[in-house]
């Protein structure tokens, strides 16, 4: 084994244990991908660990990885979207949507506020109207109310007698309850 080989194998041992300086990983992985001898070392080192951890456990046969590799060669090359870029885009989109929502809410609030301010005069005028009603003769109001009650009772009695023809007999108990006569 040459010194260079020994050094590479030692680095493979470190890579396997995740003890290699992170900056060295890409360079070593480049070599590992292309050097069949290094790949075999990588495979055997993993095999050693696996047998130590579970002696007697089933192992992949010697050609397993080669078979998978051949099948992968027939597969179309996978190309993943760059998730970081997608994440950044998604964050930007979220910010824009949030801003748009906030702007919409602010516009609605301004419109409502403006509408309230513009109609404030009407509101105060309406508030003042009861005072005008209060100035009407109270006797005439009482007599009008009495007349309306009598007319309403007549209506209810008539309804009670004829409603069954329209198939709404089920309402009768309720109608009876609410059709109390005038105070006596």
């Amino acid at each position: 084994m040459t010194n260079e080989n020994k050094d590479l194998r030692q680095r493979i041992s470190l890579l396997l244990d995740a003890e290699l300086d992170g900056r060295d990983n890409p360079v070593l992985l480049d070599k590992l991908e292309r050097d069949e001898e290094l790949k075999a070392t990588w495979q055997r080192y993993h095999l050693i660990g696996q047998v130590m951890r579970s002696p007697g456990g089933m192992l992949a046969d010697a050609d397993f990885a080669a078979r998978v590799s051949a099948l992968i060669q027939d597969e179309p090359t996978v190309m993943a979207p760059r998730w970081n870029a997608l994440r950044a885009e998604s964050t930007t989109r979220r910010k824009v949507v949030t801003f748009a929502l906030a702007a919409s809410l602010a516009s609605v609030a301004v419109l409502i506020g403006k509408s309230l301010t513009d109609n404030a005069g009407d509101f105060y005028a309406l508030s003042a109207k009861p005072q005008a009603v209060a100035s009407i003769d109270s006797n005439s109001v009482e007599s009008g109310k009495k007349m309306a009650d009598e007319q309403f009772n007549d209506y209810l009695l008539m309804h009670n007698e004829t409603a069954y023809m329209a198939g709404s007999a089920g309402m009768m108990p309720y109608v009876r309850l609410v059709s109390a006569g005038p105070d006596r």
Partner: protein, 193 residues
Amino acid sequence: MGERGEPVDEELVRRVQKGDKKAFDVLVLKYQHRIVQLINRYIRDQHEALDIAQETFIKAYRALPTFRGESAFYTWIYRIAINTAKNHIATRSRRPADDDIDIETAEQFESAIGLRDQETPEGLLLSDELAQVIQVALDELPDELRTAVSLRELDGLSYDEIADVMNCPVGTVRSRIFRAREAIDKKLQTLLG
């Protein structure tokens, strides 16, 4: 053991996602035995277990564009393996026990399980021998090498932790673990020719 292989896996996955198929070979070499053993817990037939393991890796490769690295690659492929094994069991249970395979089907699926030679292949016989050789080589190691490699492989300790336990510099741990692997590997290579 923790997920300390993750940075390497992440780098390899990134490479595959950029179209580097060779990076996937490195992942297969790393995980093949673990995946086969996992599937063998569900499917006792070794031929079928190997087929399912193969299918697992192909499925993983096809699904890699959707892998976002939110979990470790190993746990992700572990899930694929379990689901593939369970689906296989479900399909098998729906299949009549003495299902004859017609010649057309056989031509389409040369590797159909029903047509496979039922004898144990050489590869599987070799597995037992490999395990035996590794065990013997391990027993023959000097104590400090066996302890170092055992603390790493069996207990999952980091080199710093092993250095603490063995009361030696981290550089010595690196060297001991490497020498242990080399000694075992030498015997393995003799067996493998």
